[in-house]
């Protein structure tokens, strides 16, 4: 590819929540801003913008990652999943989201989209994740409301439900 000039926007092709998209971005544009400002998906939140708070966490090729530490141009050809993809039906919560609601895993909700994307990836890759694994994944997120205890409970409950659904007789 030729050198891309700083002053212009350049196309970025990638998969977003299962659909092929083409967006236009300046080289300096962050993935978090591309999602929010160019594409209009504002579920991904922006907190610290230097990788510490975790609010902007999305899944890149199935792995949780910071959208604010990723340039839009770096995700060319990648598969991006945001919080909007968790439940296919806007009127219905996913298993994990419903568990958050039941266990009061959120109050203000600012950190929640990022935490959901990390835990969603964890429970997909490690269906038998326990308290320690969940806490390890949460260490990459800041929540100033809950004290984390209710988030851990919600994640454990969602993991338990998922195991029951996958192996009803176990």
């Amino acid at each position: 590819m030729p050198r891309m000039n700083a002053a212009r926007k350049h196309p970025v092709d990638f998969t977003l929540n299962g659909k092929a998209v083409r967006a236009e971005a300046e080289n300096r544009m962050l993935l978090s801003d591309l999602l929010r400002h160019e594409i209009g998906l504002t579920g991904t939140h922006v907190g610290c913008e230097h990788g510490v708070c975790g609010a902007c966490t999305v899944q890149i090729d199935g792995k949780p990652a910071r959208a604010c530490l990723t340039l839009a141009q770096q995700v060319r050809g990648s598969d991006i999943r945001t919080v909007e993809a968790l439940s296919p039906d806007p009127a219905k919560l996913s298993r994990l989201q419903a568990a958050f609601r039941r266990h009061h895993g959120l109050q203000c909700g600012f950190c929640t989209p990022g935490i959901l994307m990390s835990l969603d990836a964890l429970l997909r890759e490690h269906p038998d994740a326990g308290r320690e694994d969940i806490r390890e994944h949460l260490s990459g997120h800041l929540c100033r409301c809950t004290g984390y205890a209710t988030i851990v409970e919600a994640a454990l409950a969602a993991a338990e439900e998922q195991r029951k659904e996958e192996k009803p007789n176990a």
Partner: protein, 275 residues
């Protein structure tokens, strides 16, 4: 908190990348995973005119065993090395260090060589590389050179990397039979910057202790045996020689105390793991 503007190049070959770096001089920077560089861009502590994205260069994305070394290419993400099947057998020190290294969410993107290039004085990978006596392969359009890790890190986020050069790979010496390795750290949370991190090796050459988070670069020291009368004095001398400073996270005095206590614990664990 947004980067200043820059040109962007996504080269298809290493030659193309090296030519762009040579032409860009000090104004061009390599971007790999971006987990250290993008925060610097966002805070405008770095304002390069050109970023060269090396993640599409397949030749750099390999972990290889070469003689008694593990060679990790510049495009290998931290999570890829963390889940490399031979890690525990060949690089047990790194297996012990990984849980402390950033978060799952940053290891998924950040590269091993990127952390080495960034040279944060409290970072786990530079500490591990120095403690194991590893090396860094540097490449420019004109030459290739190999630098010992201990000579590569020259100060606070400062390295021997010259203009137009990039890290092509880092070389970790493979674990030797009958050697023990241990890694410990004190930080506020896993993934935060270390207040003090210690890496220890116990082998037939004796004990070595690597320390990060205190001096302006990772340092490694030989030490007498733990039951030797000289041990206390030796580790105390090290603690005082490190130029510890007070900052918002910890006092210099606390850091020196951690060098003594955490250093001893880490060496003890490495000695136990020997055999």
């Amino acid at each position: 908190m947004k980067p200043a503007s820059f040109d962007f190049l996504c080269p298809e070959t290493l030659e193309e990348a090296l030519a762009a770096l040579a032409e860009g001089g000090g104004e061009a920077r390599v971007i790999a995973g971006g987990q250290s560089l993008v925060p610097m861009l966002n805070m405008r502590l770095a304002r390069p005119a050109l970023l060269v994205d090396i993640m599409r260069l397949e030749a750099l994305r390999r972990i290889e065993t070469s003689g008694d070394e593990i060679v990790v290419g510049a495009g290998v993400r931290q999570a890829e090395l963390e889940t490399w099947p031979s890690l525990l057998h060949d690089l047990p020190l790194l297996a012990a260090a990984f849980p402390w290294l950033g978060h799952v969410q940053t290891r998924a993107r950040g590269t091993v060589c990127g952390s080495v290039a960034h040279a944060d004085p409290s970072a786990e990978l530079p500490l591990s590389l120095v403690t194991l006596g590893g090396a860094v392969s540097l490449r420019s359009r004109k030459q290739k050179r190999r630098v010992k890790a201990d000579d590569f890190f020259i100060g606070m986020m400062a390295t021997d990397l010259a203009e137009g050069e990039m890290i092509e790979a880092v070389h970790f010496p493979k674990a030797r039979r009958g050697s023990g390795y241990a890694f410990r750290e004190v930080g506020r949370r896993h993934g935060d910057f270390a207040i003090v991190a210690c890496a220890a090796v116990a082998d037939d050459r004796g004990l070595r202790l690597g320390i990060a988070g205190v001096d302006d670069r990772p340092r490694v020291f030989p030490l007498p045996a733990l039951d030797d009368d000289q041990f206390e004095d030796a580790i105390n001398d090290i603690a005082w020689s490190l130029n510890a400073r007070d900052d918002i996270h910890a006092s210099a005095r606390y850091r020196r105390e951690l060098v003594r206590s955490l250093g001893r614990e880490t060496l003890k664990e490495a000695s136990r793991c020997r055999a």
